[in-house]
Symmetry: C3
Subunit: 129 residues, 3 copies
Amino acid sequence: MPFVRITLAHGRSLEDRRAMAESVQQALVETAGVPANDFFCAIHELPPEDFRFDPSYLGIARSKELVFVQIVLNAGRTVDVKLALYARIAEKVGQRPGLRHEDVMINLIEVPRENWSFGNGLMSYSPAP
Amino acid sequence: MPFVRITLAHGRSLEDRRAMAESVQQALVETAGVPANDFFCAIHELPPEDFRFDPSYLGIARSKELVFVQIVLNAGRTVDVKLALYARIAEKVGQRPGLRHEDVMINLIEVPRENWSFGNGLMSYSPAP
Amino acid sequence: MPFVRITLAHGRSLEDRRAMAESVQQALVETAGVPANDFFCAIHELPPEDFRFDPSYLGIARSKELVFVQIVLNAGRTVDVKLALYARIAEKVGQRPGLRHEDVMINLIEVPRENWSFGNGLMSYSPAP
């Protein structure tokens, strides 16, 4: 159910992009109760000049390797789960493909369970009672 | 008011991409009360290796022709309307451009009415009371 | 904290695209209490045939220069702030790069404060009490 959209500047290898998608997924599995095969990710490479960001907002030194990870997922994760998820994503993409932790930006967009169809025109999850 | 963002792997013809956008719009009109000319759609083609998905999550057999349809729309549609919308989108894109129903994935992101400006710097819909 | 995603058809100069991002940011700073260096924007250029829109929905005459500005930001802005933001974005991008006001479409997606990590695997804003 999460749909992950990764935005970054052109220039990473295919292997690195694959590693990013897989590392984010591993973090979701390990901290947010996502099934391992519930894996859906789009990676948007942009010309560097079309990916604009402040290099020091909140005192974090970002480089041109910044990656923006936007995750649409079901509502209901606690603050503690979100804290663990952010930390684990940074740790995992720090290992593979080796991103600096400063270069990992994350945003969650939460939706109700009834807002997904994973195929066949069916509502995939029963609505919350 | 819906804004539809379609993500898919490179390789469909222009005619097919046009048919996808139009079929999704027809389903919105027929099931969710959207005016026919309230039609706004962006299609993002990605290198196949940058569109990652599980080929069998929830027992649905996805092919490399998978299409992800993300719809931002006003909150307030009932579960029944969402059920009808998912079914109709799968049916319509199954007719044009002929997608397998297993290859149609849908996600809704709901926003309040006041969150849109369709031009001229104006709020397009009055806020819900 | 806002993350701005701009979608438009291919064909604008780099200078114009830069001006769009900066003008939207100035409007956010001037009307919505966003810090000047809280600036994060991705610009997605699409083939014109993949950016579909109605040329007159709600009586607004759109041209092929239409720009769709989607802003993910923290919840809590009042209707008055949103009204001011829409007007100011249209005004600013009207000045630089000189877009027609009819060609500026805006959508807000609101999230809770706890839904952001701006780097280092940390939750960037304390959750609302």
